[in-house]
């Protein structure tokens, strides 16, 4: 690969008691690349991402971000999880301003409002999360991550709690936003079509203790059509690897 490597994961393992969860995973993600990791449920995908994002320590192996071993989570890589973590006691705008520091209040407000508009929530700046729907909450979460301009987005089944239609809509939105702003993305999902729609590369994990089984390159221009023969063929091949 000609692009610079953003994330380099080398031989990480993780065990909880007697249960080996991650069994030696090595992977790398190029700068600006979108890598999706698919695997059977309970295979340790979330643990893997949690380790890469710096929330947990691996038993063995190393992670390097831009060639440096990170010391815990940082603003440079924001994790978006399945359950969401938008603060329910802050308004949409306050949530976005939470991670912003340094700038004056006015600048923060302006920046927050720009990203609120970007995810299509203009007019909801002063709303509290409990007044929003599930899909809108996801947008808030995405905007809150993007507003701090992280180089990396870690997404752990971000849309799986949404209904099928909203999930598709959010995939389209995410793709649009990634065309506007360049981010390196590492996505964990069990939704093969979501991976094909979004990613440049798809890694298929084995059951626990999980390792990388196969890598698929997705060489299709965006916006992708999942009904195309190419996408369908890829889907079949990935599902076969997952044992279906």
């Amino acid at each position: 690969m000609s692009v610079k490597k953003k994330i380099v994961v080398d031989g990480i393992t993780k065990q909880f008691g007697d249960l080996a969860v991650v069994g030696g995973v090595s992977l790398d993600v190029g700068d600006g690349e979108f890598v999706a990791i698919v695997g059977p449920s309970g295979c340790g995908k979330s643990t893997l991402l949690s380790i890469i994002a710096g929330f947990e320590r691996p038993d063995q192996g190393t992670i390097r971000i831009d060639g440096v071993k990170p010391n815990g989570p940082s603003k440079n890589g924001i994790l978006i999880s399945q359950n969401g973590s938008v603060f329910p006691w802050l308004t949409v705008q306050e949530n976005l301003m939470f991670g912003l520091n340094g700038a004056s209040h006015g600048v923060k407000v302006e920046l927050a409002d720009r990203y609120i508009a970007m995810v299509g929530l203009a007019g909801f700046e002063a709303a509290y999360p409990y007044e929003l729907s599930g899909g809108m909450l996801k947008r808030v979460e995405l905007a809150r991550a993007l507003v701090v301009k992280p180089e990396i987005l870690y997404m752990d089944e971000p849309f799986s709690a949404l209904d099928a239609l909203m999930s598709l809509r959010m995939q389209v939105e995410l793709r649009r936003i990634l065309d506007e702003e360049r981010h390196t993305v590492l996505l964990i999902t069990h939704d093969v079509e979501e991976a094909i729609y979004l990613a440049d590369r798809i890694l298929v994990l084995s059951p626990r203790p999980t390792t990388i089984q196969t890598t698929f390159h997705v060489d299709m221009p965006h916006p992708r059509k999942l009904s195309s023969p190419e996408a369908q063929g890829l889907r079949e091949a990935i599902l076969k690897k997952l044992g279906l």
């Binding site: 989570p73 940082s74 603003k75 994790l79 006691w89 802050l90 991670g99």
Partner: protein, 257 residues
């Protein structure tokens, strides 16, 4: 609209009917038994009216509320910081929790002799009793609140790399606030129970004193019953006032959904 009116009717009419029915039964029983001591509802009303007229009733209410106010405020100032600290720092929790769990089940009434010994029969005794009875529930609620903060919020805060002070001000405290309000409701309820009990033993003012004094000074049971009803109504109002805090925009998330 129709629905909402129905709701208000359902909320207001049945309880009023039940209370009216109870008063009617009370009246009938007293009238038919021709009791020389136990008052009819009307005697209670006129007795209370006389007290209100000469101003003593207000003085007693004020005295009780003052003691509750000071004792509760002191308890709040001690319980919330201590609760936050115990919730956040495991060492503090394991060191202090057993002691507080042992002190907590001791009835405030049991403290009365000790309070009189330490603070005499002035205002300080009941204030101390209110403090001791409302400090533990508020502290426990706050501690539990901190310890049960959803981990994903703490993770998110860690992810955005905020300072410790921002973490406390913008995440920990707002996350615990609903729990603190629950603690305040429990605390103020117990405080009101205790002030009346404490005033029965010592002092010469307050609603508890009014009850004992009315009985001792010539079996004025009309005033005893009137005081009881007033205590109930004020207790209800205190709870209602605390519940208003639940409407704060920043804690509403806890009560919807």
């Amino acid at each position: 609209m129709v629905r909402e009116t129905d709701n208000t009717l359902i909320r207001v009419v049945p309880p009023v009917l039940v209370i009216a029915l109870l008063i009617a039964i009370w009246w009938m029983i007293v009238a038919s038994s021709e009791s020389p001591i136990f008052p009819t509802p009307w005697q209670v009303v006129t007795g209370a009216w006389d007290l209100a007229q000469d101003g003593t009733l207000w003085a007693h209410i004020q005295a009780s509320l003052f003691r509750v106010g000071i004792g509760f405020a002191l308890a709040f100032l001690v319980a919330v910081p201590l609760g936050l600290w115990m919730g956040w720092v495991s060492g503090a929790f394991y060191t202090l929790n057993p002691l507080f769990q042992m002190l907590r089940p001791i009835s405030p009434i049991a403290w009365i002799p000790v309070a009189i010994l330490w603070f005499g029969v002035g205002n300080k005794s009941p204030i101390f009793l209110i403090f001791i009875s409302s400090v533990f529930p508020m502290m426990v609620q706050t501690t539990v609140g901190v310890r049960t903060i959803d981990r994903r919020y703490l993770r998110a805060a860690a992810n955005f790399g905020v300072s410790r002070s921002v973490l406390f001000r913008r995440v920990v405290i707002p996350a615990v606030l609903p729990e603190i309000i629950v603690g305040m409701r429990i605390g103020i309820g117990i405080a009101w129970l205790v002030v009346v009990a404490a005033e029965m033993v010592a002092l010469n003012s307050g609603l508890g004193y009014l009850i004992m004094d009315s009985r001792n000074a010539g079996n004025r049971y009309d005033l005893v019953i009137a005081s009881m009803i007033i205590i109930g109504v004020i207790g209800l109002l205190l709870d209602g006032a605390t519940r208003l805090l639940e409407r704060l925009k920043t804690v509403k998330w806890r009560y919807v959904r």
